[in-house]
Amino acid sequence: MTGEKKKKTIKTIKINIDKCHGCRACEVICSAFHASPKYSSNNPARSRIRILRDPLRDIYVPVYAGEYTVAECAGRDKYIIDGKEYDECAFCRASCPSREEFKEPDSGLPLKCDMCEDEEEPLCVKWCPADALVYEEREEEVEEEVEQGELEIGLEVLVDKYGMQKLTNAIGRMSGKD
């Protein structure tokens, strides 16, 4: 399936860190929306957007969760922007082994932004009172590939952690119980 070019709507959230005032409403509504049933619980640690926030250094970086990566990257560089020093990781959207961001707090499974599925715009954007988050759509020609679903990403993590055999055995045992 790969290799073919296809037009695709790319959904993005433009982030203006100068406008963010650090209230974390985006984390609140994201975690509530993704609760099951919807809005039945709230826990910013489950949010797929995080504000990396350090008020005394005037650092406010909202970042929404991107792809899961098995291996951590080599990047540990520092960037100085407008006189403020940022870790390279601060801007990274990946759920990776080297940090806690974008993982379920209890299971450690990765979290990924889904742009709030069928909502008109992502709810973090809707709830951002400062307009620091702006939803954008654009058409791009991309190589078509099968997108991994949440379940698949989760399974992949479990395979990485326990090995395929153990996981298959466990699923087998669980199936047997029914």
């Binding site: 209230c23 974390r24 809005y39 619980s41 008020p55 005394l56 400062a130």
Partner: protein, 668 residues
């Protein structure tokens, strides 16, 4: 399953180093809600009046409001309750910031500290792992500095820290607890924290808070967000800019300080400077604010930006909120740059921005009038600003005269003697108030000043305009969309309120109307303080997004407690009465319910007596301000009645003050 609240408190015995997670009774939540309500119940049950502020038996309770941690916009307040060293009564100071929601996510509604730690410690609450840790290396550190050091040491930048500075460690009676961009400042609760040997409480939580009826609840939250947008685009007309919008007064955003600087008084609450605000001053102050204010910032889950990070050249960055912008400036007759500069040091020390400048101005007034002498201030600089820095350091370190001043103007004046008490003229119930000196007595404010048990006027007012609008057409337009009123009669009260003539202050609003208005305003504040709602989106501004008509729905769908306006009103009255009962048991009586002596030029003794007597009756209190047997029974506070009887406190009208178990008396 418990909704909105976790159903668990954290009980910490500092003497024994014991920590317990204790399940709470959901019936208490139904009767007293959360936050202030259940804090008051715990204080009533466990801290008898014989216990003073610095006794190991005194509790220091950090209560998250009932709806904190849910998506309710602006609901983030921590209510800290204890016995105040300053007033010797119940203190219930509140702070915004990020601490209360984090505590909920860690799995607790309250942290209850008892006993005293022999060494300085901090408490580290990381979900179900809770430990008391050594804080000897943090001794003497600033409150903000402490928070940064602890987060670094724990490698947990997301932890929320409530910390005291040196003032709390040295038991300064007006020491605060600082948290993020907020602080719990009133009543000297930081001194109690210091007395217990606790430098900080650090929280990190990653568990869920559940909602009873999710779709209904989020719909209410969305409505509030929409309304906030509407109000931001439609400020209230015909009032001062500071009163026209939502949030706490937008001191960090506004440049025009004509209203405060020309109406509030300077120095030791004495001098009005009607001509102060000139074009030159306006330009200079604008330049100062613009050059030092890095960013306007918010509390947790709130669209308002009531605070700011302030970077004064040569000093560490700090966060400022609200009126402390002007308190130091005005006490010292100085300028904004001085105010922002000295507030940095005062914030690190952890001090109440209302009381501290007043105490310093009081000391200098005593010096100017020969009650204190140069010998009391060895090596004090001669320049005005230098003297304030000198006094600040002396007070916080309790050195020399600073040791006396650290107890606040009321207690300091008593100790100094030589008629110093005449200079401690801006107190209510021993706590410094907003420095005002106005011409005509205002009956609504008279009642709030006298009877408010927050003992801080800024945390009692709101909802009803502070004065009449000049034209009837303006008033008619104002009441058109005033749906927040609990009853239509309030609209008529306002429509008929004139600047001059028969329907003007002080005889209009009438005594009965004043009772209605003050009771409404107070009710909303008490509801906020139980739910953890910021007053800036509810009880403080006019026409707020949260009000008596939607709060019951928030409680029903959020906490799963069946609620309507009547039941909520009764619950608020119940714990408001309980707060009063705690203070009555500690000896508070009508004699204590007086506005600051020098506050109004024209007073009306007969009207004031009528106001107080009528309001007492309206609230179900006797002539001495003690809740009557009937009102206690009606609220289900029979246990209060029984305790009063046991202690010989009369709930009948006569001789009510005959048998006071007054902590103040014992102290004196």
């Amino acid at each position: 399953m418990r909704y909105a609240e976790t159903g668990f408190n954290l009980e910490v015995d500092l003497t024994r180093g014991n920590i317990e997670r204790v399940a709470t009774d959901p019936r208490d939540t139904e009767l007293y809600l959360g936050g202030l309500g259940t804090n008051a119940k715990i204080l009533w049950d466990r801290v008898p009046p014989e216990v003073d502020a610095f006794s190991p038996e005194n509790l220091l309770i950090f209560g998250a409001g009932l709806l904190c941690g849910t998506p309710a916009t602006g609901c983030n307040r921590t209510i800290v309750s204890t016995i105040s060293p300053l007033t010797r009564l119940m203190a219930f100071s509140m702070m915004g910031g990020f601490w209360a929601p984090e505590l909920k996510y860690a799995g607790y509604d309250k942290v209850i500290l008892r006993g005293k730690s022999p060494d300085l410690v901090y408490l580290w609450i990381n979900n179900d792992k809770v430990e008391i840790r050594d804080a000897s290396h943090l001794q003497g550190k600033g409150a903000i500095e402490t928070a940064e050091l602890i987060k670094h040491e724990l490698e947990e930048p997301r932890a929320q820290v409530a910390a005291i500075g040196l003032a709390g460690e040295n038991r300064v009676y007006f020491a605060s607890i600082e948290q993020g961009r907020s602080s719990a400042s009133r009543g000297g609760i930081g001194a109690v924290m210091g007395d217990k040997g606790v430098k900080a409480i650090v929280v990190r939580g990653t568990t869920d808070i559940n909602i009873a009826q999710p779709l209904e609840y989020i719909e209410l939250c969305n409505e509030v967000m929409e309304y906030i947008k509407f109000r931001n685009e439609n400020p209230i007309k015909w009032v001062e800019p500071v009163l026209s919008v939502l949030g706490s007064p937008q001191e960090m955003a506004i440049h025009d300080e004509k209203w405060h600087t020309t109406n509030f008084v300077w120095g030791n609450a004495r001098t009005r400077r009607k001509d102060f605000w000139t074009e030159d001053v306006a330009t200079k102050w604008m330049e100062t604010l613009d050059s030092m204010r890095t960013r306007l910032i918010s509390c947790y889950n709130c669209p308002m930006q009531c605070g700011a990070t302030i970077s004064v050249p040569g000093l560490p960055t700090y966060m400022m909120k609200c009126f402390s912008k002007l308190t130091y400036t005005m006490a010292a007759f100085s300028d904004l740059e001085f105010g922002l500069r000295i507030a940095q040091r005062a914030t690190e020390y952890g001090l109440d921005g209302f009381s501290t400048p007043q105490v310093m101005a009081f000391a200098l007034e005593l010096l100017e009038n020969g009650i204190l002498t140069d010998k009391d201030f060895p090596e004090m600089p001669e320049d005005n600003e230098g003297r304030f820095y000198y006094l600040l350091d002396k007070i916080v370190n309790r050195e020399g005269v600073g040791d006396i001043l650290a107890n606040g103007t009321y207690w300091a004046a008593k100790e100094i003697g030589k008629s110093a008490e005449a200079y401690a003229h801006n107190n209510i119930k021993k706590q410094e108030q907003l420095p005002l000196k106005l011409s005509m007595m205002n009956p609504i404010y008279f009642l709030m000043y006298c009877t408010g048990e927050k003992i801080s006027i800024t945390q009692i007012e709101g909802q009803f305009p502070q004065g009449p609008f000049p034209k009837r057409e303006q008033r008619e337009e104002f009441v058109k969309d005033w749906f927040q009123v609990p009853d239509e009669k309030f609209k008529q009260y306002f429509l008929d309120w004139e600047l001059r003539g028969e329907n003007s202050i002080p005889y209009y609003p009438t005594v009965e109307m004043c009772c209605d208005i003050v009771d409404w305003q107070e009710r909303m504040h008490y509801i906020d303080d139980a739910l953890g709602m910021c007053a800036g989106l509810s009880s403080f501004p006019m026409k707020p997004p949260y009000h008596i008509h939607n709060f019951p729905k928030f409680i029903s769908s959020g906490a799963g407690i069946e609620m309507d306006e009547e039941k909520l009103t009764k619950a608020a009255k119940r714990y408001r009465t309980l707060v009063r009962a705690i203070n009555i048991r500690r000896g508070m009586r009508k004699k204590d319910e007086k506005p600051p002596e020098d506050h109004w030029k024209h007073r009306f003794p007969d009207l004031e007596k009528d106001l107080l007597d009528t309001y007492y009756k309206y609230k179900g209190w006797n002539d001495e301000g003690i809740p009557t047997k009937e009102s206690l029974n009606e609220l289900g506070l029979d246990y209060v009645y029984e305790d009063f009887v046991k202690r010989g406190i009369s709930m009948d009208s006569e001789d009510a003050s005959s048998n006071d178990a007054s902590a103040e008396k014992e102290k004196e």
